[in-house]
């Protein structure tokens, strides 16, 4: 999760040729959205319909079935405690996507607010942004582990920890959009006709932030999915009774050699979800936010 930081400090730099946009390339980008969207919707469906899709109770320990290799009863085998790997992965989608949604939503609200305040009120800008700098300089995983240790293993706390880690980045993006608009004529015009700050923010600045926000959120969502898995992998994530791809991978570590199947499906599911979100983010950026692309 921390390894990803570099990308995200550089959202502007990432990708996309401005010129030479052949119809093929355009189609390719649309394909991004289509493919990413399909995979994501499928994942959401799996999460929602988990009880229908799962073949076994994901929590049930069946001792005599421990570490079975894939067979007709257990399509992807069983883990160290005889639980069905496939069913756990299916239920694990609930946690991953749930945490992703939770983090996206809270970062969206808090990060946008902070960014608007910093960007619009000159006096607040420096103090707020210094605090954001400090938070970004703070190693995210340590912060998250500490928050988890402080508040205990609960899904809400995973969301809280990952939200705190992701908020500064979104705030920065919003701030830079607001800063670039603040000096434009239509804002000045709004000022001169006596619009209140609240009104200007709500009806002029916020709408302009929507596109970059949508793009950023798809990446933050992807980050949160990996973040949850990382925390669970380190044993500092969701409580043990909740099926999580990260903790499944952690469990698989000790049986890596005897039961490699315990690590394959959770890893694939994790990669696929993040892959879909990244594709979607790329596509959306291209579609919605040509401005980011050019800088």
């Amino acid at each position: 999760m921390t390894e990803r930081a570099a990308t995200l400090t550089l959202p502007q730099l990432i990708e996309q040729p401005a010129t030479h946009r052949s119809w093929l390339a355009t189609l390719g980008r649309r394909k991004n959205i289509t493919l990413g969207g399909i995979v994501l919707v499928a994942m959401i469906a799996i999460a929602l319909l988990a009880p229908l899709i799962a073949t076994h109770d994901p929590l049930k320990l069946v001792v005599q079935d421990r570490l079975q290799s894939p067979n007709s009863a257990h399509l992807f085998g069983t883990d160290t405690q005889g639980r069905d790997v496939f069913s756990r992965v299916v239920y694990g989608a609930r946690l991953s996507l749930g945490v992703g949604f939770g983090v996206s939503l809270s970062v969206l609200m808090v990060g946008t607010l902070i960014g608007l305040l910093a960007g619009y009120f000159r006096r607040l800008d420096t103090p707020i942004m210094r605090v954001m700098d400090g938070m970004m300089a703070f190693p995210g995983i340590i912060l998250a582990i500490a928050i988890m240790a402080a508040r205990g293993p609960k899904v809400e706390n995973v969301i809280l920890a990952l939200s705190i880690v992701s908020t500064p980045r979104l705030a920065r993006v919003v701030r830079s959009v607001v800063l670039s608009l603040r000096e434009t004529q239509f804002i000045e015009a709004a000022h001169s006709v006596g619009c209140t700050a609240q009104k200007i923010i709500r009806s002029h600045l916020l709408p302009n932030c929507v596109s970059p926000l949508i793009v950023q959120i798809s990446f933050i969502f992807a980050e949160a999915v990996i973040g949850e898995a990382s925390l669970s992998f380190l044993g500092a994530g969701a409580p043990p009774e909740v099926p999580s791809w990260g903790s499944m991978l952690n469990d698989s570590r000790v049986v890596l050699r005897q039961a490699p199947w315990t690590m394959i499906l959770p890893g694939v599911a994790l990669t696929l979800s993040v892959f879909a979100l990244n594709l979607l983010g790329d596509g959306l950026r291209d579609l919605l936010d040509p401005r980011l692309r050019r800088r």
Binding site: A6, T9, R130, P260
Partner: protein, 306 residues
């Protein structure tokens, strides 16, 4: 330029103070008294109180923080609760390993990432482009720790090509470095490609082509040179985050670096070590940002500092 650097360094000081205060407050919120953890399961209350006193944990919080700052002024980050050694010594002992790992990862990711990016750019719009960029986006999506497990399973457990223990040979460095470099290689491939494409559309490239230079020369001599500006920026930023960001990889591979030290310190409640490692990582982050900005200006004279 010098003034710019000095100004940036001065600006970093309050941020570092903030970070140190942040860690300090964060540690107060974490349940689990370090004295209790050190004393173990069977210590008496008096002994625990005595250890608290020895560690200075019985002082009011502001005093504890001021003591920390006072030590800092004397160039000390305090002593580890567990090993009784200077935090600085503990960190410096592990830093070369983290540095080696980060350097190896940067080299690997730059070589492979830039090569993939150029390859994709040259073949823009063709199948090779889509495949390469598809690989890049998958590389971006694969969790590092899963790749680490796959590598261990394949190269150490099944094929037995690489050693499973030790940290003093290049073979031992290989797996963690590859796992760590994957993600940054993917990012570099994407940026190289887009940056190359942008440059190749510029006037002077067309001129070079018109002069009859061979395509290879155009790409290597003219396009790549300019396309490298954003990539060099990225290398710097990634290096900064790799220095402080290899927690999980170091833990999985048992690599004796700063990241593993920090994670262990959290579980051991070794507060001075946590403080020290977080500060070090923050410094690495701020410095790498600064270096990147300086290099950026040097490579691209259009950018002026004020």
């Amino acid at each position: 330029m010098t003034r710019y650097i000095i100004r940036r360094l001065i600006l970093a000081i309050p941020v570092l103070f903030g970070v140190s205060l942040g860690v300090f407050l964060m540690l107060q919120l974490v349940p689990g008294d370090p004295a209790l953890v050190v004393a173990g399961d069977s210590a008496s209350p008096e002994t625990i109180a005595r250890i608290r006193h020895e560690l200075g944990l019985d002082q009011p919080l502001p005093i504890q923080y001021l003591t920390f700052l006072e030590h800092l002024l004397h160039g000390s980050l305090g002593k580890s609760i567990r090993s009784n050694r200077e935090v600085m010594t503990e960190i410096l002992e592990r830093f070369p390993y983290t540095l080696a790992l980060a350097l190896a990862a940067v080299v690997l990711s730059t070589v492979f990432g830039v090569a993939m990016g150029i390859f994709a750019a040259i073949n823009r719009g063709r199948a090779a482009d889509f495949v390469t960029m598809g690989i890049a986006i998958i590389g971006l999506s694969v969790p590092t720790f899963w790749i680490a497990l796959l590598l261990i399973m394949l190269f150490a457990l099944t094929l037995r090509w690489l050693p499973v223990t030790g940290a003093s040979s290049w073979q031992a460095l290989l797996m963690p470095a590859v796992a760590l470099s994957l993600h940054s290689a993917a990012v570099k491939a994407r940026i190289t490609r887009s940056s190359m494409l942008e440059v190749m559309g510029q006037e002077y490239i067309r001129t070079a082509r018109a002069k009859g230079l061979r395509e290879r020369g155009v790409i290597l001599r003219h396009a790549l040179k300019n396309a490298l500006i954003p990539i060099s920026t990225l290398i710097g930023l990634q290096f900064g985050s790799l220095l402080g960001g290899a927690f999980i990889i170091e833990t999985i591979f048992g690599w004796p670096g700063v990241g593993r030290l920090a994670v262990q310190a959290i579980f051991n409640r070794d507060f001075p070590i946590i403080q020290g490692t977080v500060l070090l990582i923050a410094v690495a982050y701020l410095l790498s940002n600064l270096v990147v900005d300086i290099v950026y200006g040097w490579l691209d004279p259009r950018i002026r500092y004020n």
